[in-house]
């Protein structure tokens, strides 16, 4: 009896989890599938996951005055070449890399010393400052978007990389996360470094930073994903200058550029944009999970 009950329980648990996984994965499945199929297959919803990959003619290529024989290609090739040809996708992605990496590096440069001070140094008002950090965690970015925009506009920084980067350089979440991690670093280690003759500044970069790699990696994933995928803020500060667009913003322009139902190339572009994140995550996965459990357990 008992065995059966637990079997049922396991079955139930797994069904729920599998259903959840399907709900989460379905959009990605569709994205990938559409990026492989021809327009007619997408429209009629045939061809399974990969589509039949029958040779098709590129209507735009023909319109541009080429001979029909020159415009024959397989749907997968058509979708992905169109994605790169129709919009400066590479440029968008380089923008995205530059912006997210800059944000992350500056966030670390700001957050580590703050977290170190908040966790390991004793000074008057420390708890109040930490309280403010927690309070800032509660403020949604959208609430301060307008003042931020006005400030940037006043100093003439809209439509620049600076506008994309500066507002995110102080991450209270990063400070909070690193502070919690630093709390678990034994005081003796810091005292030993002081005895060895390290300045407080070197302690942060030579002792705390290396021990905090797992936590930093976890924070890095959060930060990079959030800013790589961010649509809202680039939309606010980048008005017109296409050269500064980040991938999500570019994607939107891409959509309005292309005529109506060109889902294939669009999904191909989306796939290309999502891919770096997936690769980074898979590479960092083990240490990332380590980082989260380490900050969570102690």
């Amino acid at each position: 009896m008992e065995l059966k009950a637990s079997w049922l329980g396991e079955f139930f648990k797994h069904s729920v989890l599998i259903a959840g996984a399907i709900v989460v994965l379905l959009p990605f499945y569709l994205m990938l599938s559409y990026s492989l199929k021809s327009p007619s297959e997408i429209e009629t919803n045939t061809g399974g996951f990969t589509g039949a990959q029958q040779i098709m003619t590129d209507s735009r290529c023909v319109k541009a005055g080429n001979a029909e024989e020159d415009c024959l290609m397989r749907p997968i090739v058509y979708n992905y070449t169109a994605a790169f040809k129709e919009a400066p996708l590479v440029r968008y992605m380089l923008n995205g890399v530059f912006v997210t990496v800059s944000i992350f590096i500056i966030q670390v440069i700001v957050a580590l010393p703050c977290a170190y001070a908040l966790s390991k140094l004793k000074f008057w008002g420390r708890d109040v400052v930490f309280g403010l950090v927690i309070f800032c965690l509660l403020i949604p970015v959208h609430a301060i978007a307008l003042p931020l925009y006005i400030m940037l506009a006043k100093v003439g920084l809209t439509n620049s990389y600076a506008a994309l980067i500066i507002p995110w350089t102080i991450s209270v979440f990063g400070i909070f996360l690193m502070r919690q991690f630093f709390m678990t670093v034994p005081d003796d280690l810091i005292d030993a470094a002081r005895m060895d003759g390290m300045s407080e500044f070197s302690i942060v970069w030579q002792v705390m930073l290396p021990t905090a790699i797992p936590a930093l990696l976890a924070f890095g994933i959060f930060s990079v994903v959030a800013h790589w995928n961010d649509y809202y803020w680039p939309r606010v500060v980048i008005t017109g200058n296409k050269d500064l667009m980040t991938p999500p913003l570019g994607l939107r322009m891409f959509k309005s550029d292309m005529d109506g139902n060109e889902y294939g190339p669009m999904m191909a572009a989306t796939t290309v944009i999502v891919l770096p994140l997936v690769i980074i995550f898979l590479m960092a996965q083990r240490r990332f999970i380590e980082g989260i459990t380490m900050t969570g357990m102690k």
């Binding site: 005292d191 030993a192 005895m195 060895d196 003759g197």
Partner: protein, 380 residues
């Protein structure tokens, strides 16, 4: 090499006072042990000497000059921490060269990549490497140089921590319970090694422990601390045989000293557990006293008149000695007698045992726990 002096050092955290007026004079090359129960302020004292904590009042002198404002790294001291505190991301070799690099290289020479271009760096680094090599040889950690601290056993880590202190060739070594993470046999072994190291280096050692046996075996002098007070400072024999305070008497020695309640009347005759004991006090006033006797000074006496007696509750056989635990009818106090195994043979649990001691072995303490100068007369 340097002597270290503390003058009137106090420390308070907020309103809680942790150290009260500590005065210590540590000679150059001395092995001084700070010993006391947990929370008595040993680590705090050590950290004040190291400069990791600032005293509330008082002065610290190293080599005759005042160092109250001097940064830890400029005091030329090295510290070994209880948790070893090795850099977890660096190999043993890197752990050992870090303090030397910080001391001997200029800031420019320490810059990664760029520093290698500085002309003096190569020469300095080779000196540093040979220093590290020498220390690694002394401590027998050469095979471990390429490992990270996480891949070492507790004893090996302890050696590396010691090595990191030694490479700097400091004026004094500060050690905060460096052996407490080791198992019993390794601890005994390391005690001997530390003593030997001290003889070889001839440096000042300040050693913190809560283990009185460690303090007795290794030190030139012991400083017994309790509740933030420095109770007694002296060579191990003196502290053991001549404790000035009942708390010192009870803390030093294992098993603990036997403390028996006694009453002194106006005529100066002392009554302890119904027995008159032959000890003369200078100050003949009516007062309550405590009499302390070490377990090894108690002897079994069969049928003598003026002896104490108690019921044997437990025989603790250590092979070379046997400790007899006696119930003498007091709730809080048992008496422990150290005897030879032959003498203890006949004693059975539940037997009534008579015992006594020669009066010159009695230590008399007043009601406040302070030692009273008292002279015992004759051999019981």
């Amino acid at each position: 090499m340097a002597g270290i002096t503390l003058q009137g050092v106090t420390k308070a955290y907020g309103s809680q006072s942790v150290l009260n007026d500590i005065n210590l004079d540590i000679a150059d090359g001395e092995f001084l042990t700070l010993v006391g129960p947990s929370g008595c302020g040993k680590s705090t004292t050590l950290r004040i000497i190291a400069g990791l904590e600032t005293q509330s009042t008082g002065d610290v002198f190293i080599d005759g000059s005042i160092v109250n404002e001097t940064r830890p790294s400029k005091r030329d001291l090295a510290m070994v921490f209880q948790s070893y505190a090795l850099y977890p991301h660096l190999t043993v070799h890197q752990n050992l060269i870090t303090p030397l690099k910080l001391r001997d290289l200029t800031a420019l020479e320490r810059v990664p990549l760029f520093g290698h271009l500085m002309p003096e760096r190569g020469k300095k680094m080779s000196i540093i490497s040979s220093e590290v090599q020498k220390v690694a040889e002394i401590l027998k950690i050469e095979p471990l140089l390429d490992r990270k601290p996480g891949q070492l056993s507790g004893g090996q880590r302890q050696r590396v921590a010691l090595g990191r202190a030694m490479v700097r060739n400091p004026a004094a070594f500060l050690m905060d319970e460096p052996l407490s993470n080791l198992d019993a046999s390794l601890r005994v072994h390391m005690r001997a090694e530390l003593s030997e190291l001290h003889r070889e280096l001839k440096a000042t050692f300040i050693y913190v422990t809560h283990d009185q046996a460690e303090a007795l075996t290794m030190s030139d002098r012991i400083a017994v601390m309790m509740d933030g007070d420095l109770l007694q400072l002296g060579p191990p024999d003196e502290v053991y045989e001549d404790p000035t305070d009942i708390r010192v008497a009870e803390f030093i020695g294992s098993p603990k000293m036997n403390i028996l309640p006694a009453i002194c009347d106006e005529k100066g005759s002392i009554n302890c557990l119904g027995q008159k004991i032959k000890v003369a006090l200078k100050d003949k006033t009516k007062q309550s006293l405590s009499i302390g006797i070490r377990p090894e000074h108690l002897v079994l006496q069969s049928g003598a008149k003026s002896s104490f007696s108690g019921l044997l509750t437990y025989k603790e056989n250590l092979g070379s000695d046997v400790f007899l635990h006696l119930d003498i009818g007091l709730e809080t106090q048992k008496v422990v007698i150290r005897t030879d195994p032959q003498d203890a043979n006949s004693a059975k649990i539940g037997d009534k045992i008579s015992f006594g001691a020669s009066p010159n072995k009695y230590l008399v303490f007043d009601a406040n726990g302070k030692r009273i100068d008292a002279r015992g007369r004759g051999n019981s």
